[in-house]
């Protein structure tokens, strides 16, 4: 059987050119929109027209490095959170129901008049709409590097150069009240925390033992990734430390569609130019391991003595795959497709690489396992294709899979997946991927 390869073809870049270093492009979970951070602003692009939809400006004094869409919004409303080097995170709202912000700054209205018509019907109604800066979330001492919402939107995680991860919750009574409270300040990393990612809501993700279902991962300059879970007291604790990378872990992504009911694996990419996959060692007798000295010591709740002793790490994670080395320099970004399971990576060397898991090898390895403890089988990943100098000599800061909504997709509009790379040259470029 001929080995499958990928053909990666560049499509027309999103307009306008930003002429500023761009850091991240995050697609909206459902709508054909893409939010790109550059300098101290965010430009939202329409994926139908591949051109600018709106701009978020004026909220941050320093570079905006990260952005995340708030999930589960009512129709016509957009909300996102920006993370900035000014040590704050900003909450922004776009109200497309006509009740949005009144006359805004003259410059932004003009910008919108210049842009092409938005094909998205919901937002076409009121040309005077703009993003409203609702809230500043302050607290971090240093630059905020990443922001992420939990799958339900209940929690927002932010991380910073101050080595801490903060978890925020909106405790406002009604929707849109915006009373954000800091639920946890987690300072266990030994270095700058570069990224945070929540485990997606998949069948394998369930509350286990004393912990609730939400799982947060954080990647750091200290070469490790930490996994955090919320225990019965509402305390966020570190349940595992993933060591193995030889350099800063720039980020991670959870497996978007794990097999069956398995707990999602974690993909990490690092300054050591490798990509690794980590799997949770799922064991059955977790309940019995609870507290070596009998449960009384560890009983907690409002009435009892809170457990302040350092609980032993509750989870064991193994590195079950290291991708073949394609990159020559730091890998800044990787994306795992929910649709095809293909991983795309990009980084400082300007190379885009695609990988896919070899299912045959994984199945064979699983069959060969005869030990009583379920050891997660190693998996092999094959390189499907690469592109060099994707942004010329410039570094690629971000790569993401994204559904195509432009006319070029033909009948597969809304289904076909493309890649979007974000580079230091300020160019946001989509790529068509064909696997043969």
């Amino acid at each position: 059987m001929a080995k499958p390869t990928a053909r990666i073809e560049p499509l027309a870049a999103l307009k306008p050119d930003l002429y500023q270093r761009a850091w991240q492009s995050v697609p909206h979970p459902t709508l054909p929109l893409l939010a790109t951070t550059h300098a101290n602003q965010v430009t939202v692009f329409s994926l139908s027209t591949l051109s600018q939809h709106s701009v978020l400006a004026g909220g941050h004094t320093r570079s905006v490095r990260s952005v995340t869409w708030q999930p589960a919004q009512p129709a016509g409303r957009l909300r996102l959170v920006t993370g900035s080097f000014d040590a704050s995170a900003g909450l922004w709202t776009w109200d497309g129901t006509g009740a949005g912000a009144g006359a805004g700054g003259g410059e932004t209205k003009l910008e919108m008049e210049i842009t092409l018509d938005r094909v998205d019907e919901e937002e076409q109604q009121n040309e005077e709409e703009e993003w409203e800066f609702n809230l500043v979330l302050e607290g971090h001492e240093h630059e905020v590097k990443d922001v992420a919402f939990s799958p339900s939107g209940q929690y927002l995680a932010t991380c910073s150069r101050d080595k801490s991860v903060w978890i925020w919750e909106d405790v406002g009574a009604a929707d849109g009240d915006d009373e954000w409270e800091t639920v946890a300040v987690l300072s266990e990393h030994d270095g700058d925390v570069k990224a945070v990612a929540w485990c997606p809501d998949v069948p394998g993700r369930a509350a286990r033992g004393r912990y609730s279902a939400d799982v947060l991962a954080s990647a750091s300059y200290d070469n490790t990734v930490r996994i955090w879970r919320e225990d019965a007291d509402g305390e966020w604790v570190c349940v595992a430390v993933l060591e193995g990378h030889d350099g800063t872990v720039w980020g991670m992504q959870w497996e978007p569609r794990p097999e069956g009911n398995k707990f999602p694996r974690l993909l990490t990419f690092s300054a050591d130019a490798t990509i690794r996959i980590w799997s949770l060692r799922e064991e059955e007798e977790e309940e019995e391991k609870e507290g070596e000295g009998g449960s009384r010591l560890f009983r907690s709740g409002l009435g009892g003595i809170p457990n302040t002793m350092r609980r032993s790490m509750r989870e064991d994670w193994d590195c079950t795959a290291v991708f073949s080395k394609v990159h020559t320099r730091e890998i800044y970004s990787a994306s795992w497709s929910a649709k095809t399971g293909i991983v795309a990576s990009a980084g400082s060397d300007g190379i885009i690489a695609l990988y896919r898991e070899e299912s045959e090898t994984a199945a064979a390895a699983a069959a060969a396992t005869t030990t009583t403890v379920e050891v997660t089988p190693e998996s092999a990943w094959r390189v499907l294709g690469t592109v060099s100098n994707a942004h010329g000599p410039y570094e690629i800061n971000h790569i993401t899979w994204c559904k195509r909504f432009d006319p070029g997709a033909g009948e597969r509009r809304g289904e076909e997946e493309m890649l979007i790379t974000t580079g230091d040259d300020g160019v946001i470029r989509p790529w068509q991927v064909r696997i043969s």
């Binding site: 912000a101 809230l135 915006d178 809170p306």
Partner: protein, 168 residues
């Protein structure tokens, strides 16, 4: 047969050994005094931090509604300017905290983390790590409580997009 010239021919070796021994003794002495002062310094820093957090935890805990009203003799020293209210029941000089179960939980945890008697003063790796870990977690908790109680956590911004930058 001992070589009569052995000593003379091995002079360097002897000087080396002398120097080495002397260096080692000096090193040990200097190391001890340096280690002692470093230990004192670090120990002081660590315990003053944990004590500070413990003090704050006590004050917060006593400000919680439902806490027994004890004479506020042990309140923090920043109360210099405040008058003590000599009412029959309430002798607290600080306003009570709002009733909030989450807040109570945070304060309870903070208190437990830095309770003076439970912190070990041993110098073993395990004890030191435990101490550091608890103090770090306590600092995080203190930040959360501060935000819930005192300083304004979030600022609502009135400026529209594209307007004046917000004063951060």
């Amino acid at each position: 047969m001992d070589d009569p010239f052995e000593d003379i021919l091995n002079l360097e070796e002897q000087f080396y050994q002398d120097g080495y021994k002397q260096g080692q003794e000096d090193g040990v002495k200097a190391g001890r005094s340096e280690g002692r002062s470093l230990g004192l310094e670090k120990g002081f820093q660590k315990f003053i931090e944990s004590g500070r957090l413990y003090g704050r935890a006590i004050v917060w805990a006593n400000r919680l509604p439902g806490a027994s009203s004890k004479p506020a003799a042990a309140t923090e020293d920043t109360n210099d300017g405040q008058e003590k209210q000599q009412h029959g029941e309430q002798e607290l000089t600080l306003p009570p905290l709002p009733k909030n179960p989450r807040l109570e939980k945070h304060i309870t945890t903070l208190y437990a983390l830095v309770e003076a008697d439970t912190l070990s003063t041993e110098n073993t790796d395990e004890a030191v790590n435990d101490f550091d870990d608890r103090v770090k977690r306590a600092q995080g908790k203190a930040k959360i409580i501060e935000r819930m109680v005192g300083e304004v956590t979030v600022k609502k911004v009135q400026a529209g997009a594209g307007g004046k930058p917000d004063e951060v």
